[in-house]
């Protein structure tokens, strides 16, 4: 049996007409790494190259201790010999097979001793146990995509690749599938590379974020750190904000819940989850304001001390983005240039942040 994956190295160089792809990133061997960027930024090409579906002549793809491609040494492992799972944007189920036969297509091609899941376990994980005898044509869009994910898992992948698995679905179907993707994240140890151009999906699911633009990786790092980088281009800055991983600490008497994180405590409307649950939340830069003293006489309950680490101009004239840290936890605030000047917001200054809104992502 092959060992656990420590890192995933992806280095690609490709010139195709006007389009140039030049990427060299190392991704963690666990959790969800999101490849995020606008259409045409090369995310799907990158994913297809990792799978070997796209033949990139100059590439090095190493999954833990397995070399899948190394052009310098003339190594190219064909797709069907790579222990991967691939979920396409459209479910792409085999229409001539029923759901069970679709699920077991990959599984049957893996020697029994190397199988990591049973059909029943995966069908349960994705809530498709009742659909096994159906034909793909009789499934809803959300069900089809869940079957496609289950089918990929049953091929016992060491790496799961997902190419905008929610993009072809309407909002309701997305909401239907997202909890299952979170379960994959929480219950499986398989690293996932997730391609998306939807900031909400990335904020909700990713642990590691790679930002792609025009075929280049302009940032790669842990999600919260990368989102908090104030120097990113406007694609994400429109929706600037950070993501916090918190733990539900307990309830207050007045129907509020306490969320503990590395830089303090946040109060949100009462949660149903058990105390100790991990909750991810998002704080938009536009919902954060700054004060020099601890504000009093305010209706805002989330007031926290923080230190300014950087300020950068935004695309909106007269506004700046301020990067702060609450202890080790980064935060972004969008304020006017006038306020920045009057409060003298400069790196190193201690301030109080007022957080007007906390969006819970799970």
């Amino acid at each position: 049996m092959v060992g656990a994956i420590d890192t995933i190295q992806v280095a690609l160089q490709l010139q195709r007409g006007d389009f140039q792809l030049d990427i060299d990133v190392t991704l963690p061997g666990r959790g969800i790494s999101a490849l995020f960027g606008p259409s045409g930024s090369g995310k799907t090409t990158c994913l297809r190259a990792i799978a070997g579906l796209e033949r990139v002549n100059d590439a090095r793809i190493v999954i833990g201790n397995e070399v899948w491609q190394d052009s310098a040494q003339g190594i190219f492992v064909p797709t069907h010999e790579r222990a991967l799972g691939y979920v396409f944007q459209e479910a792409s189920l085999f229409e001539h097979l029923n759901v069970r036969a679709n699920l077991e297509f990959g599984m049957k091609r893996v020697p029994p001793g190397e199988r990591t899941f049973s059909t029943e376990a995966v069908a349960g994980l994705l809530g498709i146990g009742d659909l096994l005898a159906r034909r793909p044509g009789k499934l809803s869009g959300g069900e089809r995509q869940r079957v496609a994910i289950a089918r990929a898992l049953l091929a016992s992948p060491r790496l799961l690749l997902m190419d905008e698995p929610l993009a072809a679905l309407d909002l309701r179907r997305k909401q239907e599938i997202l909890p299952y993707l979170e379960r994959l994240h929480d219950e499986l140890s398989i690293p996932i590379i997730y391609v998306s151009h939807a900031p909400d999906e990335v904020a909700r699911l990713a642990d590691h974020l790679v930002l792609l633009d025009a075929g280049r990786a302009i940032a790669s790092g842990p999600l919260s750190e990368t989102l908090a980088r104030a120097d990113l281009p406007p694609t994400f800055a429109d929706d600037a904000g950070v993501v916090l991983d918190t733990i539900l600490d307990g309830d207050e008497a007045d129907a509020l819940s306490r969320l503990r994180f590395a830089g303090g405590v946040l109060y949100v409307g009462q949660r149903k989850e058990a105390v100790g649950s991990h909750l991810r939340c998002r704080i938009h830069a536009r919902d954060v304001s700054l004060a020099l003293q601890r504000p009093s006489g305010t209706s805002i309950v989330n007031l926290l001390p923080a230190r300014v680490t950087a300020t950068v101009p935004t695309d909106t004239p007269g506004h700046v983005l301020v990067q702060l840290r609450m202890g080790p936890t980064p935060l972004l605030a969008r304020i006017t240039e006038r306020s920045r000047r009057e409060l003298d917001i400069v790196p190193g200054r201690d301030v109080w942040v007022q957080i007007k809104g906390v969006a819970l992502l799970s």
Binding site: T79, H80, Y86, F105, A152
Partner: protein
Amino acid sequence: MDAADLAAIWLTLKLATVVTLLLLALGTPVAWWLARTRSRLKNVVAAVVALPLVLPPTVIGFYLLVALGPNGWLGKLTSTLGIGLLPFTFAGLVLASVLYSMPFVVQPLHNAFDAIGERPLEVAATLRASPWDAFWSVAVPLARPGFLSAAVLGFAHTVGEFGVVLMIGGNIPDKTRVVSVQIYDHVEALEYAQAHWLSGAMLTFSFVVLLALYTVNPQAVRGRR
């Protein structure tokens, strides 16, 4: 119908069956290649395969006769191999029919493979299926309507041919005298009653086959050029 007519019918069915099986065996890789290749030869091969659609059967028959004859390169080859000369034999008839009916098998299969697209094969590859495995477990089942059309059209077209048969097969009872030639003989001999019986049988057969094809599989027929 007399014994000669029945012999002609039997020979026709035998010929069409053998030809259809050979056509599927040979046409499938050609159609697969045409559907998947990015080679510049693709259009050349497609055009060559389609030639029988536009050429008079006599042209194909003539060239085959020359090539398969004692001085033709194929004739020399078959003689050297100890097979003997093919013109005016059942084997020669089979060869000519395979060439002549090839487009009727290749085109439905080509369309069917095209319609499957790249995606199911990519999915199969990500599910550990080798290209050979994926061809049999995914492409062939998905192209089933195409195979059905190809077999029916190949069979029916072989039953219906005349010119090539006459050129290569001649008119030898039990060996190369198929129904279409038998009808021709009846008409020549002014035996209109027998000609009616056989022609009526052919008409009915062809209509039933085409009706079945359009009913079972309308798309595949419409997709054909």
